[in-house]
């Protein structure tokens, strides 16, 4: 983009400004929220600053630091706005005076400070005092800059409902005094876990959709990856790296998970030549980094498992012993029935389907997984491999009753049909 430093013809198009705005708007917003102490005021100020840029930059040229210019313009627009409101509400005048009084310290706009603002924004949007749905909506809106319509479409909800959720969340941030800050060391672990959960939820919504709108959903997965990349850049905690790695490794298989006709393809049958090697390499490096820290958690371990799969040339030569070992570690940190189920499937690959079936059936008798369709699908698959056709059929049918996901249903129905041919 042309800059006017040397006084040459500043041909700056609306499109250039638009691109710059897209790149900078979230950072500018994060800083404006800190300076103005109010989400809505900051958003209005951002829009006003952008309008001013569209008016001024084509004739005056793009300023040397567009970001600082936008922050500063936004701040003055907000002060104007408060002054106008002050005609009805005296209190606004005080706030405006306070804002005007606080000197425009250039240090506040240094890249470090702005990075901190983005981190503040993430932690505020994912504050545990907000409902999980509100955390997700607010993060996608404020941190990622998705429109309310885009978020509503991605989550198959009404834009009005979603807009209301965001409005209410902002209201709570203001009234309940949720601070615009990165938590201190003592709370960091717990708060980071909430942030990671939001990111992973967004990713999973994109990865295995409740509906059939694949294109949109890929966007959501990529949004989650971008968000995690930002987080890792700002706060390189091992579990943040672990989550990013996990998502990259899953995402690397995105083109091979479904056939052209939309059928689900299992890991062992996927065309590994079409896995994204660059993403696998990045994911693998991140896992190693997180494991070395010795402060890793469940995301890192799941990523490590995904990395073993990703690096194996085919299903048979996968290091199943390593995978079982990683599941053992994971189970120690996250002793859930679902983890135990996944471990059982890995044992089946290491020691044969009989050993796996024994474990899966034990888990099913314990009861917790009775309604979990993937537990029945796993049992069905092991029975099928052992030639226990009747048991396999029953289990596939039970799995079918537990899922509405179209691709999963088609997969299970296909397996049932294959059994009938035997």
């Amino acid at each position: 983009m042309p800059v006017t430093d040397d006084g040459d013809t500043p041909t700056v198009s609306e499109r250039d400004i638009d691109a710059l705005f897209r790149r900078e708007s979230r950072r500018v917003l994060a800083t404006l929220i800190r300076l103005l102490g109010d989400f809505d005021l900051a958003e209005d100020a951002l829009q006003d600053a952008f309008m001013a840029a569209l008016r001024q930059w084509p004739t005056e040229g793009v300023p040397a630091s567009p970001r600082a210019w936008l922050v500063s313009a936004g701040r003055f627009k907000a002060i104007d706005q408060l002054r106008r409101r002050a005609r009805f509400d005296r209190a606004q005048d005080e706030i405006a005076a306070q804002l005007e009084g606080s000197a425009d310290d250039p240090a506040l706009l240094a890249d470090d400070a702005i990075g901190d603002d983005r981190l503040r924004l993430i932690f505020t949007c994912c504050h545990p005092a907000l409902a999980r749905e509100a955390q997700v909506a607010l993060t996608l809106r404020e941190v990622c800059g998705l429109t309310t319509e885009e978020i509503a479409r991605a989550f198959l909800s009404k834009p009005a409902t979603l807009a209301q959720r965001i409005v209410r969340a902002k209201q709570k941030i203001r009234s309940a005094g949720i601070p615009y800050d990165v938590p201190g060391e003592r709370e960091l672990g717990e708060r980071l876990a909430a942030v990671l959960q939001v990111i992973y939820l967004v990713f999973n919504e994109g990865y295995l959709s409740a509906g059939d709108q694949q294109v949109l959903r890929h966007d959501l997965a990529e949004e989650a990856i971008r968000l995690a990349e930002l987080l890792v850049r700002l706060l390189p905690e091992p579990e943040a790296c672990g989550l990013l790695a996990l998502m990259l490794l899953h995402h690397s298989r995105r083109h091979t998970r479904l056939s052209d006709s939309g059928e689900l393809i299992l890991l062992e049958q996927q065309d590994r030549r079409r896995w994204d090697r660059q993403e696998i390499a990045r994911g693998d490096a991140l896992v190693r980094r997180a494991l070395l820290s010795q402060r890793f958690g469940p995301y890192t371990l799941q990523a490590a498992i995904a990395a073993v799969h990703a690096l194996a040339p085919d299903s048979e030569s996968t290091d199943w012993a390593e995978i079982v070992g990683l599941y053992d570690l994971l189970y120690r940190q996250m002793p859930s029935a679902v983890v135990a189920l996944n471990r059982a499937v890995a044992v089946a690959m290491r020691d044969g389907p009989g050993a796996g079936l024994e474990l899966v059936e034990a888990l099913l008798t314990e009861g917790e997984l009775g309604d979990y369709h993937l537990a029945h699908a796993a049992r069905a698959d092991l029975c099928r491999r052992l030639g226990l056709v009747d048991q396999a059929r029953d289990a596939y049918q039970r799995a079918l009753t537990g899922t509405q996901q179209p691709a999963e249903r088609r997969f299970l129905e296909k397996r049932l049909a294959e059994l009938a041919e035997k």
């Binding site: 009234s175 005094g177 949720i178 601070p179 800050d181 938590p183």
Partner: protein, 132 residues
């Protein structure tokens, strides 16, 4: 900011823990309140008599209606309150997390509203809350 921390727990479950437990919990609460007062974070607070002593009053058409019992029957009952001064919600959560009965019941943190402040904006979404 001022926050009201409402302490809830199940009176029945508390009773089952016996008198020794009750006495030591009370001692702990009193020491905690003392500390909070000294640090200037506690503006007011008190334990409450059990919910069986509650009386509810309503005025309808200028008539005063008095009934026995609390406003709503719940699994956990309001057992006491702390009015605290905290920097922000994180600060309030930190204090609430140290209230001894938080280990058994729950603490509801409510920001205090300035009654002379903005008008109905304080409950702007009440209508929509009832809808879902």
């Amino acid at each position: 900011m001022k926050y009201l921390c409402l302490v809830y727990y199940s009176e029945a479950a508390m009773q089952e823990r016996g008198d020794d437990h009750w006495q030591s919990l009370n001692g702990e609460c009193s020491a905690f309140g003392e500390g909070l007062r000294e640090s200037g974070q506690m503006l007011d607070g008190s334990a409450l008599q059990p919910v069986s002593t509650a009386t509810t009053v309503r005025v309808r058409d200028s008539q005063v209606h008095v009934t026995d019992g609390p406003f709503a029957e719940t699994k956990e009952q309001l057992a006491g309150f702390y009015l605290i001064e905290a920097g922000d919600l994180n600060d309030a959560i930190r204090i609430a997390g140290r209230i001894p009965p938080a280990r058994y019941g729950s603490i509801e943190i409510r920001p205090v509203r300035d009654i002379h402040g903005e008008s109905s904006r304080a409950v702007p979404y009440a209508e929509s809350l009832n809808k879902d």
